[in-house]
């Protein structure tokens, strides 16, 4: 194929002139040649790489030549006849053969050659592979045999079967027929060492066909992890690390399978799964034997049950772990939640009740009814903490606290009402301290009370020793009431404040009832109670108070903030001690001043609608002022800053440097410079083919061409530079159109200009 044929075909495909295509072709190969001259390597993708290298000729001189190395795909396309053939190993060199082998066969110096039957494709199977030949006739043998091998390999695939020579045929007979006495022929298996080497050398045999080898590797991987040993350690710690260990094993195994690219993946994966399951079963048995605490064992026992062999393992582990992490974090971050404290408090109450029952049984046989009532209710209270644990995860804490508190209070009220039937008598007398109670003042007052109580304790203890058991009865019966007051009195009193809208209505109504009943019931001083409880082995009230202070939530703190302005009010309430008997009275007292304030506000509000109109008016005023400001600014700007064109001074534009003087730089475009600012008058001296020579004070200039586009101009400039001329250009604006004129010069004489014009 020649160049013309290429040009014709492309011109016909693209509907282009042949001349242009030929120009294009010349451009391609000229640029390539120019690159080779500069010792540049040219890399054309999907075709190949041209590289310039030095080589020595036959004469011995060094000369540069161009080499071409095709892309792999292109080379494979070219070599489609012999692409399937691969290089074959014929024989080992002498150094590879073991010295023992020489000594066994013959003491003499001989050449030993390994022949291989290629007809059976026997590299893979070792039994038929090797026939050893021992001959006395020396160095000619290997050459002939290699030729013979060529035929046997290449005949089935190559198109050109070479006709075997007569010598080789004779040679065949000599070798293969054992009857001839000239050559001592024997067949024997190669020793195992050489066999192993052969296996390593041939690439095809490196791939393991056996599953057993892979099995062994997998077992190595599993052993390297030391799964059982680790898990024996982890059983004490928990289920989390057990899972992480199992995860690592499965990950290693999967990575191994991917890297090795086993042919039979399914069998391997099944085996690995079986092994892991066996290990897990082994571990679970050990866990049961060791008697790990009841909270952790069920999780560990669940894991083998959940894992179905068909499903992927890692996902299961991650899901389980995530759940565990959530639960653990909740326990760690909030070690003492309100619910736990509730549960503790309820346990304390139960213990007290039991003690009370025992005491009552021993001393008052008539009051068996109390025991019957408290019996079933203890069971109810035992069930409730479990319900709290389940419900906490779903609900927010504050609301849960409010709801559950209401229930607990109702239950406690039930106790109080049953017990209080005997006791609820007499008028209501509330001490002044409890009436004006706020949370902060209450705490301060309590601290003072505790100090007084401690002083009183010492006195009371001394009295109790004298009075024996009798005061314990009264204290024991009154305990639940006092407990209720000390434990739940505070939140009940804090929730008096009507501002707290966060509290739900259900709890609110319950607490209302409780508070009303509290006010109706008599209060017994607490000084006598505390020592008795210490004697019974229970926690003192001071500890319970501390517990309860931790029991506060954020909502309580907010309430305290809201109550601060109301602290000034309690002294007024203390004066009106007689009137307060219900919850409504307190609320009315607190709200009394606020209603006044609200009334004042409501009086002021009717005046506000007049002001409500003002914003619209204000907006309009602001807009108008802004408009005026803008207009003033514009007027001032026009007067002072942006002077009229008549007043503007004509600033002389600096004359740009001549582009013709620049040398070396490729593309010089003075797009920014305003060349048209100053133009000298020029006279045309000479004209030829739209090319003009003009004379100025500086010298002679050649001008030619009109280019609308700068890129076309740049192309032309480069073409001229290849000829050795460095042109400049001039920007011309006329009738709203800008175009560029090529400009050469300045030249001192007209002759110079004409010489250069002839070259263009």
């Amino acid at each position: 194929m020649k160049k013309d044929f290429l040009i014709k075909q492309i011109a016909s495909e693209f509907n282009v002139d042949e001349i242009k295509v030929s120009e294009y072709f010349d451009g391609i190969f000229e640029t390539l040649a120019a690159a080779f001259i500069k010792d540049k390597n040219v890399n054309i993708s999907e075709f190949g790489k041209f590289s310039v290298k030095k080589k020595t000729d036959e004469e011995g001189e060094q000369k540069k030549t161009v080499l071409f190395s095709p892309v792999r795909k292109f080379a494979e396309d070219i070599n489609y006849n012999f692409g399937e053939l691969k290089p074959v190993q014929i024989r080992l060199l002498d150094s590879a053969v073991s010295p023992e082998y020489h000594s066994i066969e013959s003491g003499e110096e001989t050449e030993e050659i390994l022949l291989i039957d290629f007809e059976d494709n026997a590299f893979s199977s070792t039994e038929n592979a090797e026939v050893l030949i021992h001959e006395d006739s020396g160095p000619e043998v290997p050459v002939l045999e290699t030729e013979k091998l060529k035929e046997k390999i290449l005949i089935p695939e190559s198109d050109k079967p070479e006709i075997p020579t007569l010598k080789t045929e004779e040679r065949k007979e000599e070798i293969l027929i054992p009857e001839k006495p000239q050559a001592e022929i024997y067949t024997e298996r190669i020793p195992e060492e050489i066999n192993a080497e052969l296996k390593v050398m041939s690439d095809e045999e490196v791939k393991p066909n056996n599953i057993e080898g892979e099995k062994a590797r997998i077992i190595e991987v599993l052993n390297s992890v030391k799964f059982p040993e680790r898990i024996l350690e982890f059983t004490a710690k928990g289920t989390k690390e057990f899972k992480s260990a199992a995860k690592t094993i499965s990950r290693d195994a999967t990575v191994y399978i991917k890297e090795e690219k086993c042919e039979n993946k399914k069998s391997l994966t099944d085996k690995i799964e079986d092994e892991i399951e066996q290990l897990k079963a082994f571990i679970t048995e050990e866990i049961r034997e060791e008697n790990i605490p009841s909270e952790e064992t069920p999780d560990s026992a669940d894991t083998p049950e959940v894992e179905i062999p068909g499903e992927p393992k890692q996902e299961i582990f991650t899901e389980e772990e995530s759940e565990d992490i959530i639960t653990v974090q909740q326990k760690e971050d909030f070690p003492k939640t309100s619910l736990e404290l509730e549960a503790e408090l309820l346990q304390m109450l139960e213990e007290r009740k039991k003690i009370l029952e025992e005491i009552s049984r021993l001393e008052k046989s008539d009051e068996d009814d109390v025991v019957d009532i408290s019996g079933p209710k203890t069971i109810d209270e035992e069930e409730k903490p479990k319900l709290h644990d389940e419900s906490t995860l779903d609900r927010p804490r504050q609301n849960v606290f409010a709801d559950d508190e209401g229930k607990i209070l109702e239950e406690l009220l039930g106790l109080i009402s049953d017990e209080g039937k005997t006791d609820t008598t007499g008028p209501v007398e509330i001490p002044a301290e409890q009436k004006g109670i706020t949370s902060e003042s209450f705490i301060q007052e309590e601290k003072e009370d505790i100090k007084h109580e401690e002083e009183e304790k010492k006195e009371s203890e001394s009295e109790e020793k004298q009075e024996d058991i009798i005061p314990e009865q009264d204290a024991g019966l009154t305990n639940p009431d006092n407990v209720f007051e000390d434990l739940f009195g505070k939140p009940a009193e804090e929730q008096i404040v009507p501002e707290s809208e966060e509290i739900k209505v259900s709890s609110f109504n319950a607490e209302m009832k409780i508070f009303d009943r509290l006010l109706d019931e008599p209060i017994i001083p607490s000084a006598e109670e505390k020592p008795e409880k210490d004697e019974n082995g229970l926690t003192s009230f001071s500890e319970l108070e501390e517990m309860f202070r931790n029991f506060k939530t954020e909502s309580d703190e907010e309430k305290n903030v809201s109550e601060k302005p109301a602290e000034s009010e309690p002294p007024e309430i203390q004066e009106k001690t007689e009137t307060i008997k219900t919850y409504d009275d307190i609320t009315n007292l607190i709200d009394a001043d606020r209603e006044k304030k609200t009334e004042e506000q409501t009086v002021e509000k009717p005046e506000s609608p007049k002001k409500k109109i003002t914003p619209a008016v204000r907006m309009t005023i602001v807009m108008v002022t802004l408009l005026i400001a803008i207009i003033v600014f514009v007027v001032l700007y026009q007067r002072f800053v942006n002077k009229s064109p008549e007043q503007n001074m004509q600033i002389p534009v600096p004359h740009p440097a001549d582009s013709t003087l620049t040398k070396g730089s490729d593309s010089v475009i003075y797009a920014d410079t305003n060349k048209t600012a100053v133009q000298e008058e020029a006279e045309t001296v000479f004209e030829k083919d739209d090319k003009v020579i003009k004379e100025t004070s500086k010298g002679f200039y050649i001008e030619f061409g009109e280019y609308d586009n700068q890129f076309v101009l740049a192309k032309e400039i480069k073409a001229l530079k290849d000829k050795g001329i460095t042109p400049g250009y001039e920007e011309v604006k006329s009738e709203g159109r800008t175009y560029y004129i090529m400009k050469l010069g300045p030249y001192n004489s007209l002759k110079e200009a004409k010489n250069i014009l002839s070259k263009l």
Partner: protein, 93 residues
């Protein structure tokens, strides 16, 4: 030099637009490849000649494996630069 830069350099001198010049360039290379793989000799005046040569099968000693290896035959592409081009390359020195 890269294929992209080569196309740009050719485009500056060419009479075609950029899209046409790229398409023509790619098409010429395709035609060259087709004609070479068919076994035709491609001769470009002033540049060189692409031919296919067949290397026959031969034995080679592989010293890493310590063995003799028989290589199958192979068809290879060879580029022989023209005398003009060799002259131009060696003139500048």
């Amino acid at each position: 030099m890269n294929k992209k830069s080569l196309i740009n350099k050719v485009y500056i001198k060419s009479p075609f637009g950029k899209e046409d010049s790229i398409n023509i360039f790619n098409r010429t290379i395709e035609l060259l490849k087709e004609s070479i793989t068919e076994g035709k000799k491609v001769k470009i005046k002033g540049f060189g000649k692409f031919t296919i040569e067949r290397r026959e099968a031969k034995t080679v000693t592989d010293y890493k494996r310590k063995a003799e290896v028989l290589l199958p035959p192979k068809d290879k592409i060879t580029f022989k630069p023209s005398k003009k081009l060799v002259k131009r390359i060696n003139e500048d020195e």
